[in-house]
Symmetry: C2
């Protein structure tokens, strides 16, 4: 006796499952029609479950956001605040690059309270802010750097990596270049 609620749940799950594949293939601007088609679901059904593209992206990102916030919490407990921040920034930059177009969506949505994706981005920005504050308290990072600036810069690293797929260690290198500036060198 599978009720309508069960079918609705299964539909939702299938949409999400298919969306992971299609968005991985086509990026965040993937065709919603295509997702509905490949999930063998009416287009209206997709819209019922996910009233906007950002709502779908938010669901796709939830796992990763949860994982990243957990990582951030663990890193906050680290003794070496500078190393913790560096590790975090690198992991976040990889996470922000999960899908083509994602860095743009994340940065754009940060300023847009109304977007469902905003709920996914905020904890990441907040985690960045906490780790930054700790590193600043340890005098490891210039004190005038704001969390929004750092967040934008590390998101941009993901954006560059996406636009320039020639090398894949771009992220480490670019982040190191930026940090060498942002990190206050020990007195010498």
């Amino acid at each position: 006796m599978t009720g309508a609620r069960d079918e609705a749940r299964r539909n939702r799950e299938r949409i999400v499952e298919v969306a992971r594949v299609v968005v991985r293939e086509q990026g965040t601007q993937a065709s919603l029609r295509d997702i509905a088609r490949r999930a063998e679901v009416g287009l209206g059904t997709l819209y019922r479950h996910f009233p906007s593209r950002d709502a779908l992206l938010e669901t796709l990102m939830r796992r990763r956001v949860d994982h990243l916030t957990a990582r951030a919490a663990a890193l906050t407990a680290e003794k070496d605040a500078a190393a913790a921040l560096t590790t975090w920034l690198l992991e976040f930059s990889y996470g922000a690059g999960t899908y083509r177009g994602l860095p743009e969506s994340l940065l754009a949505t940060l300023a847009d309270q109304t977007s469902p994706l905003h709920a996914a981005v905020e904890p990441l920005r907040d985690a960045t802010a906490r780790l930054l504050a700790a590193a600043q308290a340890a005098n490891a990072i210039r004190a005038d750097l704001t969390a929004d600036e750092l967040f934008a810069l590390v998101t941009a690293v993901g954006w560059i990596a996406e636009q320039t797929p020639t090398l894949d260690n771009h992220r480490e290198r670019l982040l190191a270049l930026i940090l060498d500036g942002l990190t206050r060198p020990p007195r010498r």
Copy 2:
């Protein structure tokens, strides 16, 4: 006795003129249909003159590219290589942000030899490389920084400014943050 050639020329000019307005309004992803409509020209005429979106963008950017390369030439003659590079990076970052979406188009097209926009980007990348080399020769910038890395980073500054229109001095600030890392501080 205005011949067909004259009309073709006038059509082309009107398309470019209208495209400047529409692309300024809607960004590099502006509707080509809309441009043709507002230029009071058949859609096929637009395609005849500009077989691809990048071909149109290249025409829109030509003036600015010429102006920027002239600036770069002048700056190369400056004594203070570090100051010249900084000035260049800031001016380029503003130029790259002429239209919404342009930083993305520019960085993407750098690796795509086939794009008509490539011809517009290459002189800018080359100018960046020359000014970088001069600054490196003066020991003002870390020697292991490549022109492509610097080009990507400064383009990313334009990208961030576009995604985060809250502040408008973003460019100066972000560039300073990055340079403070890239610029080797005087021995102290």
